[in-house]
């Protein structure tokens, strides 16, 4: 099937048109998951680069700077499934078209996942948050993407659509390299699903930047911990901007589980994170500095998450 034949098919739905300029040969805004998948497969068959368009805050900047030269853009904001934002006892589902500004409007999302909301709130300005999605942040797979460590800590699972009925993947396995994710041709991210935290589980996210707003993380720290009778019963700790991808540091979690939170257990978790970090040196900071800072952030984030659990009790 060529794009011309698709044109006929999409006319019946929400087809907007097609044009040629600057390499971009088509823009589609389909209404269904299946149409997105066939557009992606079609492009792959013709060796064309198709890009999904969520908020576009990375896509447009990269396209206009020439960093990325897509042949086709597929807007995924007109699909029912990507516009789902659902909170129930079992899961919190955030669809791929939900902009950060919309997430901030849900008070119980803030209560349940304060760390993830903090991370989303750090991405860009008010204007950028009016468009930017956490799924776009995740798919863009920048080492410094702010929502990624927070999603990993929260235990988020990627809900991936494909022609075979879809598949699920933990966020820590989704980002595979700088700017690279685990999606195969014909696949896209429908949304992320986070297990609904109990009232004794809270998360926190901190990043360090040279300014107070609008900058890229030098280091980031995502923490989610749960307590029973003062003892930590669950801990997921993730680091960002200090390795090619954000990382789940399992040993840091293990350093906390089974213990009361003390300076000593925190120091063990911090040491595990510094060890797991393999940062680069650049204009934002040297590798040694980043290792130091990521430890400090982890320590603070653990304390914030802990105090959130106590406040909620």
């Amino acid at each position: 099937m060529t794009f011309v034949s698709l044109l006929g098919r999409l006319n019946a739905t929400n087809y907007v048109g097609i044009g040629v300029f600057m390499g971009l040969q088509g823009y589609y805004a389909p209404n269904s998951v299946d149409e997105v998948i066939s557009l992606l497969l079609e492009a792959a068959n013709e060796s064309q680069l198709a890009k999904l368009l969520a908020g576009g805050t990375d896509v447009l900047v990269q396209m206009h700077s020439g960093l990325n030269k897509p042949d086709v853009l597929v807007n995924l904001k007109k699909i029912k499934e990507t516009n789902r934002l659902e909170i129930n006892d079992r899961e919190i589902y955030i669809g791929a078209a939900i902009p950060s500004a919309q997430m901030q409007e849900y008070q119980n999302l803030k209560t349940l996942l304060p760390g993830l909301l903090e991370a989303a709130d750090l991405i860009g300005s008010t204007q950028v948050q009016g468009r930017a999605t956490i799924c776009g942040n995740l798919c863009n797979a920048s080492p410094a993407g702010d929502s990624i460590p927070a999603l990993i800590a929260a235990g988020a699972v990627c809900d991936i659509a494909n022609k075979d009925g879809g598949r699920q993947l933990q966020v820590e396995d989704f980002v595979v390299g700088v700017g690279q994710n685990a999606l195969e041709p014909g696949e896209f991210l429908l949304g992320v699903s986070v297990p609904t935290p109990s009232s004794t589980k809270k998360d926190a996210y901190l990043r360090f930047i040279p300014r107070t707003e609008m900058d890229i993380a030098v280091a980031g720290a995502g923490v989610a911990i749960a307590f029973e009778d003062n003892k930590c019963v669950e801990a997921r700790i993730a680091i960002g901007a200090v390795a090619p991808t954000a990382r789940l540091v399992e040993r840091a979690g293990e350093a906390l589980v089974g213990h009361e939170i003390s300076d000593e257990t925190i120091e063990n978790a911090v040491a595990a994170c510094r060890e797991a970090a393999s940062p680069i040196s650049d204009k934002r900071g040297t590798a040694a500095y980043r290792k130091k800072v990521v430890g400090v952030l982890i320590k603070r984030a653990i304390k914030i998450a802990e105090s959130r659990v106590r406040e909620a009790a």
Binding site: V16, G17, G19, Q25, L53, L60, Q127, G130
Partner: protein, 159 residues
């Protein structure tokens, strides 16, 4: 190949235009529709000069494709003043001398209006964080923040 045909609403009026798939909303507003109140500072989402509201959300028009406006409601600086003249924010920007060259001003006014619609009584910190994505290279931010505070006061209890 033909351009894309888009039907949308701008400041309450139905509008149709043709655009290239890669074209931004900013470029269509300014170059196709002649609505040059919306400014371009950077084209990369950093300066906020191109701020508009789309379906009630503040966004950078340089980071949105014109094709994405299909079936949306767009508000630009041109729609801010009413039939009775300037919007309170516009008057307060003048009164407080919250502009010099003026290129950032439409963006600040559109962004401030979006803030006051959401939060009619913002404190200074809220205003500064909300406007952190609007850059001004001439005036400095104090006068701008004062103008927004004063506008909020006047909107709460019109003189």
């Amino acid at each position: 190949m033909p351009k894309l045909h888009v039907e949308t609403s701008i400041n309450g009026d139905p509008v149709e235009y043709l655009c290239e798939p890669h074209e931004t909303m900013l470029s269509v507003l300014r170059d196709t529709l002649g609505m040059t109140g919306t400014k371009e500072g950077c084209g990369t989402g950093d300066c906020g000069a191109c701020s508009i509201q789309v379906d009630g959300r503040l966004v950078c028009s340089c980071l949105m494709l014109a094709a994405e406006a299909e079936d949306s409601e767009i508000e630009t600086i041109e729609g801010i003043s009413g039939k009775d003249g300037l919007h309170v924010l516009q008057s307060k920007f003048l009164e407080h001398a919250a502009l010099q060259c003026g290129i950032c001003t439409p963006g600040f006014i559109v962004a401030s209006k979006a803030l006051l619609e959401k939060n009619p009584d913002p404190d200074e910190e809220t205003i500064r964080y909300w406007l952190a994505g609007n850059l001004c290279r001439c005036t400095g931010y104090d006068k701008i923040v004062r103008a927004v505070q004063d506008a909020a006061k006047e909107l709460a209890s019109p003189a």
